[in-house]
């Protein structure tokens, strides 16, 4: 409570809230639930459903003096309006008395429920929402036992209208609250849902192609207050009351959305406990109450029948099932023999505990840990990362955000969504990339550069922002304007990606961004800092725990090694040219979920548990360490990666090894300064968040889960902890002109990676291999839209269908990552229109 707060009573309870607070929210804060359907605390109030009707008494003021009139006892005289009013659209007033449970208010709401039910099918026994349905709950509470409406008068409407591949509409159940329409417009920025017709015929439609074309569509099923919108994935899958809930963290991107996994033990899954659906879990500083559709639907890999269930050991040239003891002994022997010529290769798919344990195992024999990442700069993020109090949701007028070299909408959709809102609140969002992306929609300045010039563009912005003359880069009006915006920003966040860059290039980009933060006075500020848009969920954690990519490429690293221990990554699948280098190893151990191409060539394969079976922690791109929990029993004999590594290390003679995930995090806290405060208890801490969700009143915030399992800990950056702010401007990489076209791998949300493919529900939306070309380049090559084109580089070649797109820069070709092409870095290629035979 602060001075200037408004004081009023709601059902006799005194409330003090800031002016402008809506009655419905004020009531919520003191535990008075005013029922709503159309109102949602994150959407603009519309007052459509009329469910929140209350009586309002306002102090009577003397017309002449403006003074509040008082009665004989000195109490202010209140006047109650003749009409009920909507609590969701009325801001509080000083001295008001709001009656929520009065006879008149209850009667009004009873009538609204009765109206809603005239057109509702009351098919609760077969409805997915049954059990967590606001209409059902409020009907029980408010509805008359018997309707005066004749059942025969009900209109019958379609019960299965697929709005798209992922969301199905039941027209009968819809109560026209427009939450879905408004979510798509106000939050998702994809206005692809609308109303058609009017009056009683009003219905939800989409005219987008494909239907309901939005990466955030699943959220509408959470906020739908009835069973009108259901996901194709969960529809008729289970009843809400049968489901168990376990807290988790999304493993797909560096945002680290908080999830709840709903599971049940079921006969159709052979009596196993399986995940039935993924729901958002509230963390206002990370994902609020939203998740993207990838996070929601791409969990099926964890229960894929292709998962490895037992350890495998190569015997007589073939991988055969083995016991853990045998496999671990064989593996340890291979590691011991290699000694310092062992290389451990890991990725950002592994948890912090896994990475620490793996590093320990590798280093026990003197081997070296190597991070397989296409992107550098994590060390600069640790130094200049976001402050420990940061929250993108608090950025607004006066603040600035720079996003460079990324298609954020495809790479980290929730960040895109949060920046869109920041822009709406007045933050200047500056976007620099070689091509148009959906960030441009809300950018205040857009800087275009040619692929290969990202660092130069950043240096140009840096020069404009600092006025330093020893730094040179791109110049231009947009660069100048961007520099000015950065310089004057109260808080400054810089996101850097890797589009069109290799690991060295991104490292230079990160350094340049760090230099800008340092030289514009934004280092160590509460909300400012550097964020890496990593292609995996825990790459920042890997950097923090000492894992580094090699400067020279995996082939060289493998070439020098005698043995390798590879975990959570499939180098051979990503780059077939690594075949000889892997083949030349004396010994190869792979820890994996699946028998990947790399695993298939291994001497020992150790089955790892997926994120749903175990616990662990991940460090998000924003530097928040978050904990996930086991949701289902282990799959077969699979073990968590940290446990496997611990066993290997123990077998190699390491002492005092942690014996649990929690203990491994404590070990991390001991040895990694930035993590020194961390423990599983600290990660499990929660505090009250607004809006309140997940209570019995599901109508307020939807079915997103309340966070009772931990908000995580936002790490302090090194500069915040008093570290040096010194950083030089990076060298601008020399231009690398060459013949042919620059093929640039780009991220698409629904790719064909091993963790996505098993989610068949995404198949219709999944990207297939294509090469996007500028029209002029397409004409020069002689290829038309949809025709086959082949690309060749370094003795490799690939064929794909051409997509002609004017937003692709001339001289460049965009190729989706993890869609079948093995190109992982920007590469100059030769393009040729394929023969008609090849096209077929």
């Amino acid at each position: 409570m602060t001075a200037g707060d408004v004081r009023l009573t709601i059902d006799g309870r005194e409330v003090r809230v800031p002016p402008g607070t809506l009655i419905v929210d004020a009531a919520k804060r003191v535990g008075v639930d005013i029922p709503v359907f159309c109102y949602h605390p994150k959407l603009e109030p519309v007052g459509m459903c009329r469910m929140c009707l209350v009586e309002i008494g306002r102090p009577v003021r003397d017309r002449a003096t403006g003074e509040v009139q008082v009665d004989d006892h000195g109490t202010p005289v209140l006047q109650y309006g003749p009409k009920l009013e909507t609590a969701c659209t009325t801001p509080v007033g000083e001295g008001w008395d709001v009656r929520v449970s009065s006879e008149k208010a209850r009667q009004g709401r009873n009538e609204v429920v009765e109206f809603l039910l005239t057109s509702h099918p009351l098919d609760c026994p077969i409805c997915d929402k049954g059990g967590e349905c606001p209409l059902q709950n409020l009907t029980l509470e408010h509805g008359p036992g018997k309707s005066r409406f004749l059942f025969d008068d009900k209109i019958r409407l379609d019960k299965r209208v697929p709005l798209g591949d992922l969301i199905v509409l039941d027209r009968e159940r819809c109560i026209q609250c427009a939450r879905c329409v408004r979510f798509q417009e106000e939050i998702a920025g994809d206005p692809v849902l609308g109303f058609f017709e009017r009056g009683r015929k009003l219905e939800i439609v989409t005219f987008s192609d494909p239907g309901f074309d939005s990466y955030f569509s699943g959220n509408t099923t959470d906020i739908c207050p009835v069973g009108a919108l259901t996901t194709a994935d969960f529809r008729f899958g289970a009843r809400p009351w049968e489901l168990n809930a376990a807290a988790s963290i999304c493993p797909h991107c560096p945002v680290g959305c908080n999830l709840t996994l709903n599971t049940r033990r079921e006969a159709v899954s052979g009596g196993l406990e399986v995940v039935k659906r993924v729901m958002p879990r509230q963390n206002e500083a990370v994902n609020e109450t939203w998740i993207c559709d990838k996070g929601r639907f791409a969990y099926h890999f964890a229960a894929s029948p292709e998962r490895l269930k037992t350890p495998l050991v190569r015997k007589d040239g073939r991988l055969v099932e083995a016991t853990w003891d045998e496999a671990l002994e064989t593996a340890a022997e291979g590691m011991r023999t290699a000694g310092s010529r062992l290389v451990g290769i890991a990725s950002g798919r592994l948890s912090n505990e896994d990475l620490m344990a793996l590093r320990t195992a590798v280093e026990t024999v003197g081997g070296r840990p190597v991070l397989d990442a296409p992107m550098g700069g994590g060390d600069f993020v640790r130094r200049f990362g976001l402050g420990s109090q940061s929250d993108l949701g608090r950025l607004g007028r006066g603040d600035a955000v720079l996003v460079i070299a990324s298609d954020l909408h495809e790479e980290a959709p929730i960040w895109w969504l949060r920046l869109r809102k920041a822009a709406e609140r007045g933050a200047e969002v500056i976007v620099a990339n070689a091509r148009r992306t959906r960030l441009d929609e809300f950018a205040s300045h857009v800087i275009r550069y040619e692929y290969g010039q990202a660092v130069e563009a950043l240096l140009g912005i840096g020069a404009a922002a600092t006025g330093e003359t020893n730094v040179r880069g791109l110049v231009g009006e947009a660069v100048e304007a961007a520099g000015k915006a950065l310089r004057s920003a109260a808080e400054l966040v810089i996101f850097f990606g890797a589009e069109g860059l290799d690991a060295k290039g991104t490292a230079a980009l990160a350094q340049g961004a760090a230099a800008i933060l340092a030289r514009t006075g934004h280092a160590a500020k509460e909300q400012s800092g550097l964020v890496g848009i990593w292609p995996q969920a825990n790459l920042q954690g890997a950097w923090d725990l000492g894992w580094r990519p090699t400067g020279r490429g995996l082939a060289d690293v493998l070439g020098e090694a005698k043995a390798a221990l590879i975990a959570g990554v499939d180098p051979l699948g990503d780059d077939p040219s690594l075949g000889p280098a892997l083949g030349a190893l004396d010994f190869l151990i792979v820890q994996e979920l699946f028998l990947t191409e790399t695993a298939a060539t291994a001497d020992v394969v150790l089955p790892a548990q997926s994120f749903i079976e175990r616990e662990g922690s991940l460090t998000s791109g924003e530097g928040r360490v978050q904990r996930y929990y086991p949701a289902v029993p282990a799959w077969g004999e699979a073990r968590p990666d940290w446990s496997i590594s611990s066993s290997l290390a123990a077998g190699l003679g390491a002492k005092d090894l942690p014996t649990s995930a929690a203990a491994w995090l404590e070990r991390i806290a001991e040895v990694v300064p930035a993590y020194h405060d961390l423990s599983y208890q600290a990660l499990a801490r929660v505090e009250e968040q607004w809006p309140l969700v997940g209570g019995d009143d599901l109508y307020f915030g939807g079915t997103a889960y309340e966070n009772r399992q931990g908000l995580g800990v936002a790490l302090a950056s090194e500069v915040e902890r008093g570290g040096s702010k010194d950083v030089d401007w990076p060298m601008s990489p020399p231009p690398q002109p060459g013949p042919g076209i620059l093929a640039v791998p780009v991220h698409r949300l629904y790719d064909r990676g091993t963790t996505l493919l098993p989610s068949r529900v995404l198949d219709p939306r999944r990207v297939s291999l294509y090469i996007a070309l500028n029209p002029s380049d397409a004409t020069a090559i002689g290829v038309g839209d949809g025709e086959a084109v082949s690309l060749a580089w370094d003795g490799q070649s690939q064929t794909a269908l051409a997509v002609i797109d004017p937003s692709v820069p001339q001289g460049a070709a965009l190729i989706p990552r993890s869609a079948g092409a093995t190109l992982s870095m920007p590469t100059r290629v030769t393009l040729l229109a394929s023969q008609p035979e090849a096209a077929r």
């Binding site: 609204v112 109206f115 008068d153 009683r200």
Partner: protein
């Protein structure tokens, strides 16, 4: 009234031609106003005149202008020409036959509001007249009566016609603004009112066609003259649209406060075929139905008197019904209208109009037993006071007043339960 003030074309042939309008003093008031009066002067005069909005709500026009957020520009004037209330056809006659007086009124309003753009939101069905209006705007613009620097002054005004596309709800001013912005014509929450956040989020004056047509005579002849017409609180002339069972339906310009009897008998020629009047809807479908008693017939038609006998003046669209009419059928017709026109945004109106219509249809089919009339009445009362905008509140008025005042007509339909 000997000389018409609003329907001047009835006295002056070819008044819809610009040279004729100008020959009879047209645009002279605008010229003099711009030269001699400040925008605030105009607002003060209109306030003093007692002019009240002719679209139905009867809100004092000058007061409405006074709510414009100060010092925020640009501002807009939006002319409500969405005339869609059943039984209302006055704005149409003004736009067809006396269009330049409306345009001059728009210019005066824009001058007072310090707006430089005005849109005439015309219902889509008025396709032909809207296109003629566009031609007339172009003519006036060519003569510098509209457009940049009118009469060489600093006042510029562009007037555009914007066509609706068939939605009664767009007559509600915030729904009209939504529609003008290219969205569904669904009413907005108020506040903020259009004077603060109207078209494109800007301060906006929304006035009805007839209201604005009053401005040239008010500014020409003064507030005092205007107040001398009509009654104390309902000043000025009003165009009454008379329809239904009368010998001579049509528009009649009469002072506010003229009685129903004068309108219907002296001007409308009484009931066709010499039958008795049974009932009157004084404001289209959007007001309670009145039994045609002597008390009612002798009631002055102004904003204060009609409520005293249990209805409203509204847009003054007087629908007369003779003694052959079944009021339960009237309720069926009006309910069908409101059910068709409900935008669907709020629950009570969307579901309630649908439910009332179902009950009324069943009642008329004679299928149902006793109690249906009470049921109908209860549903209507359930809608009351809960709607987002006036449409839903209007929808129940012919039903509740019909059941209260002509109960026998309804009960006669209650069958014996088939």
């Amino acid at each position: 009234m000997a000389d018409h003030i609003l329907l001047r074309h009835r006295d002056i042939p070819d008044l819809d031609r610009l040279e004729v309008y100008q020959r009879h003093g047209g645009f002279e008031t605008l010229r003099r106003t711009i030269a001699e009066k400040s925008p605030q002067d105009v607002i003060d005069i209109v306030k003093a005149s007692g002019l009240r909005g002719r679209g139905g709500a009867g809100f004092p026009t000058g007061v409405k202008w006074g709510f414009l957020t100060p010092d925020v520009f640009p501002r807009y004037v939006v002319v409500n020409a969405d005339e869609s209330e059943p039984g209302t056809f006055k704005d149409r006659e003004i736009m067809e036959r006396n269009p330049f007086q409306l345009l001059e009124g728009i210019a005066l309003c824009a001058y007072a509001a310090r707006a430089s753009t005005a849109y005439v939101y015309c219902r889509g069905e008025f396709w032909d007249l809207a296109h003629e209006l566009e031609v007339r705007i172009a003519e006036a613009r060519q003569k510098n009566l509209l457009g940049p620097k009118i009469f060489g002054s600093d006042f510029s005004l562009e007037v555009y016609v914007h066509l609706g596309a068939g939605a009664y709800i767009c007559g509600e001013e915030t729904a009209l603004l939504e529609s003008m912005e290219g969205k569904l014509g669904q009413p907005r929450l108020r506040p903020p009112f259009p004077a603060a956040k109207g078209l494109f989020g800007r301060p906006t004056v929304v006035n009805n066609v007839e209201t604005l047509t009053n401005l040239p005579p008010i500014l020409e002849r003064g507030a005092e003259w205007y107040r001398s017409i009509g009654t104390k609180d309902s000043a000025g002339p009003k165009v009454f649209s008379l329809s239904g069972h009368v010998a001579q339906p049509g528009n009649y310009e009469l002072p506010l406060g003229t009685t129903f009897r004068t309108l219907i008998f002296d001007h409308g020629g009484g009931v066709a075929g010499g039958r008795k009047i049974k009932a009157i809807l004084p404001a289209g479908a959007s007001a309670p139905i009145l039994p045609a008693t002597d008390e009612v017939l002798d009631t002055p038609m102004d904003y204060e008197s009609v409520p005293k006998v249990g209805s409203m003046l509204g847009s003054a669209s007087v629908i007369v019904m003779d003694d052959t009419v079944d009021v339960a059928w009237v309720a069926l017709k009006t309910t069908r209208f409101f059910k068709h026109e409900s935008c669907g945004k709020c629950t009570p109106c969307r579901e309630g109009t649908f439910w009332m219509l179902r009950v009324l249809e069943r009642l008329h089919s004679g299928q149902d037993g006793e109690g249906q009339v009470d049921g109908l009445y209860a549903v209507a009362r359930g809608i009351e006071g809960k709607c987002l905008c006036p449409l839903g509140e209007f929808s129940i008025m012919p039903v509740t007043s019909g059941v209260e005042r002509f109960r026998a007509d309804f009960v006669a339909h209650e069958g014996d339960g088939r």
